[in-house]
């Protein structure tokens, strides 16, 4: 088997809060291959976003290693990471996060101007082609507030791909979309994975997640491959246990 694209070893992350130290990730080890489409599920507050932040080098682990495409990103200095990130990771946020004063096509061009992957002259062209691919080129001159949620998310995905990164990360990318748009977004992710882009998605959406080839569940800071039914059953059990405990107390 080929060398895994993403290697995670013994990842630990502890936060200092006013109410005491919070162990969010308790030693996660994982391997993801190039072209995998991975979904990460788990209860609220289980650390899914924190885990993603480790992968995108937006945050540093307390201990452990993450290496992506051979580069050990946990060791690298900030400045290098900024550049690495713009060329290697496309991030799709839950609330789209398009720059409001720029038009759709200008939003897609933005990462190109920061990443310097394409020649300046080519950038607008490539951006328009990307928008075309997501069937939203006709909105190119509009500003984000003129688009629906679904349209904005498509622009956000186009932007995430602007520098042709090898992997794309989505944190609840369909959290704010209606059924139809959400379904389209997942279709797009499938297409990307088929073409060789590694896609990692955090989601609450019980319906759409079923179509994802690999599902990992993050529970109490540890990760395990899982089925949904098992996850659901475990949650209900935990809730009932808590209530029983409280009822016997009062």
């Amino acid at each position: 088997m080929a060398e895994p694209f993403i290697k995670i070893k013994d990842l630990v992350k502890t936060f200092d809060t006013p109410a005491g130290p919070l162990n969010v990730l308790r030693g996660i080890s994982l391997e993801i291959q190039k072209g995998d489409f991975v979904a990460l599920v788990g209860p609220s507050g289980s650390g899914k976003t924190t885990f993603l932040n480790m992968l995108t080098a937006v945050d540093n682990p307390t201990s452990g290693e993450v290496s992506i495409g051979g580069l050990p990103i946990t060791q690298a200095p900030q400045r290098k990471l900024t550049k690495w990130r713009s060329r290697n990771v496309g991030i799709v946020f839950q609330f789209f996060q398009l720059l409001p004063t720029l038009t759709v096509v200008e939003n897609v061009i933005a990462p190109m101007d920061f990443g310097n992957v394409w020649k300046p002259r080519e950038r607008r062209d490539i951006a328009t082609k990307l928008l075309d691919r997501f069937e939203i080129a006709d909105q190119a001159a509009k500003t984000p507030d003129m688009l629906s949620g679904g349209q904005q998310q498509r622009v956000a995905i186009a932007r995430a791909l602007a520098n042709n990164p090898p992997f794309v990360v989505g944190d609840e990318p369909t959290g704010n979309l209606d059924r139809m748009s959400a379904s389209n977004v997942f279709d797009l992710f499938h297409q990307l994975a088929n073409r060789g882009t590694t896609v990692i998605v955090v989601t609450h959406d019980r319906e759409l997640v079923k179509s994802v080839p690999k599902i990992y569940e993050l529970v109490d800071g540890t990760i395990g491959e899982t089925t949904l039914a098992a996850a659901a059953a475990r949650r209900t059990q935990e809730l009932r246990a808590t209530r029983t405990r409280l009822a016997t107390q009062s």
């Binding site: 006013p18 609220s44 507050g45 809730l239 409280l246």
Partner: protein, 241 residues
């Protein structure tokens, strides 16, 4: 499992409520002819996919938003023709609102936060502090009364927000994903409290996407694409019974 002891008195009534937002992408119809009746003492869950309009629906109930057309009556008050100011005052007295993200005022202590609604509405004059302490005891938090919100945990903030929502003894308690950001233990505590309140006569309407939680609530309504579904049609994937 608590039996719903709703009596026959209507406390929330939505009639043919429509909500259309004007956006730059064109008019967006979020609620399409909603009819909803809730009686006193009922415990109701509102479920539905993202973007279905459930938050908008409960905003109608709390008066935070107004329908484009249709009628809204809550706690014997017709909301649709009241001014923003009047609605705020009515709400302070009659409805407790709990948001998804705690929303305590950061420059006031916990107990002052709980006292705020009494202050704004003008109730319990002279006994506010006392009553606020009682409320904090109800949510099992009397010892953090003099701390600022930044000094307590997320779960504690949420419980404080609930105590605040109960300050004026509202008839109706409305929560928008009140446990959405809580860990398992806190979520359980909050839910238990809600059940206690219902058994004492408060009407509780709660939006949630947590199907386990929804499964524990006596009455569930699903909002899909702006419409209320018939009970037989409710997507069972949203509710774990």
């Amino acid at each position: 499992m608590i039996m719903s002891n709703g009596n026959n008195k209507s406390v929330i009534s939505l009639q043919n409520v429509e909500k259309i937002y004007k956006t730059k992408a064109g008019p967006l119809r979020v609620l399409k002819g909603i009819d909803l009746e809730i009686n006193e003492g009922e415990f109701v869950a509102i479920v539905g996919p993202s973007g279905s309009g459930k938050s908008t629906l409960i905003n109608m109930i709390t008066g935070i938003d107004r329908p484009t057309s249709g009628e809204v009556h809550v706690a014997n008050q017709r909301l649709t023709n009241l001014s923003e100011n009047a609605v705020a005052k009515w709400r302070g007295r009659n409805v407790g609102v709990v948001f998804q993200f705690f929303q305590l005022l950061p420059t006031l202590t916990v107990i002052e936060n709980v006292m705020m609604p009494m202050h704004y509405v003008g109730t319990f004059s002279g006994k506010r502090k006392e009553r606020a302490m009682e409320l904090l005891e109800l949510v099992d938090m009397p010892d953090v009364a003099n701390k600022y919100p930044s000094q307590i945990s997320g779960g504690q903030q949420q419980r404080a927000a609930i105590a605040r929502a109960l300050a004026n003894n509202p008839k109706v308690l409305v929560g928008d994903e009140p446990t959405g950001n809580l860990d398992v233990v806190s979520a359980g505590l909050v839910f238990a409290l809600f059940e206690d309140l219902v058994s004492e006569g408060t009407t509780i309407v709660m939006v949630t996407h947590d199907r386990d939680l929804a499964g524990q609530i006596p009455r569930v309504e699903e909002v899909r694409d702006g419409k209320l579904m018939e009970h037989e049609e409710i997507d069972e994937r949203l509710v774990a019974r």
